[in-house]
Symmetry: C2
Subunit: 154 residues, 2 copies
DNA sequence: CACGATAGACAACCTGGTTAACTATATGGA
DNA sequence: TCCATATAGTTAACCAGGTTGTCTATCGTG
């Protein structure tokens, strides 16, 4: 009967993917064709002050090796750069390049635009209620991103 | 400024992952410890009448080879079986085993329970509104699952 | 100053995706 | 009837992103 419960997770995933797909279509148009969805999350986690591979792994909930590999690819496509820490020569500080910061700034603006589109469709009140309800059901600061394994390995 | 728009996709992902994690924790308790999140989606796509690798790939939006690999692992852990089609010996029909159907039935009941939990927290009206709004923003039948690449390869 | 803890790199492996190439079978038209 | 083309499935080589284990270099403290 009902089995209505199946729809909720599916719609949540679909909605997430729609927003991400639209973000990246627009980013591609704005000069960032090579960026992948996860790169945005990683750069967000790197933040304006930079971080290290170990720290990034902890923030993201993945191993330091996985974080290191992701930094490698981000470095290769020009979004981050590594500099050695003068006070601790073991550490390598990973920082966003101007190109990386540009991607992050554009992402923020595009997400705002997409949210405005949702507000236009649903009404600001309904959208606020939706966000409030999601916040109720997913406690915690989403910026921490400490969903171990987040996407992938599903 | 706000940059408020970042929160929506993050919360959608977090909510999706919460539901999926809870589903699989419960499935493990109920005798399905080896099933992975994507297996549920694939079995859903296989459906009660069975399908073929090519068809499944089309439904899922992945290559027939990828669909074939997934069927291999599902077969190995006992959730599906392959039988040859008498009327077209090229085709191999993939069908859920009783164990596979059990997993699907349990998933449906667990999702209903999780939805009931959400209804308890948010109220049935708010949850209905949330689902209606997600439906508005993600048109189409979510059972088609034709999100090309769905999760993974983000 | 030596030893334990930490940062990073490297290797081997897993999964789920890709494309390309191949075999076997089906099917429709000359 | 036979041949050409299309289709189903398999295999292989590769990629990305994850894992664990091991190794080196450096830090910092007792």
């Amino acid at each position: 009967m009902s089995s209505h419960g199946f729809e909720l997770p599916l719609r949540l995933l679909l909605a997430f993917r729609m927003l991400i797909d639209e973000l990246h279509a627009e980013l591609a148009r704005q000069g960032h064709p090579d960026i992948r969805p996860m790169h945005g999350f990683v750069m967000q986690a790197i933040g304006p002050d930079g971080t290290t591979a170990v720290e990034l792994g902890r923030t993201l909930g993945v191993s330091k090796q996985a974080a290191g590999k992701t930094i490698d690819t981000l470095e290769r496509i020009g979004y981050v750069e590594r500099t050695t820490d003068a006070r601790d020569t073991r550490r390598k500080i990973v920082r966003l390049t101007p190109y990386g910061m540009d991607a992050l700034n554009r992402s923020a603006r595009i997400f705002d635009t997409l949210r405005a589109h949702w507000a236009g469709e649903l009404g600001e009140d309904r959208l606020n209620a939706l966000e409030a309800d999601l916040r109720t059901m997913t406690p915690g600061n989403p910026w921490r991103l400490d969903t171990p394994g987040w996407f992938g390995n599903l």
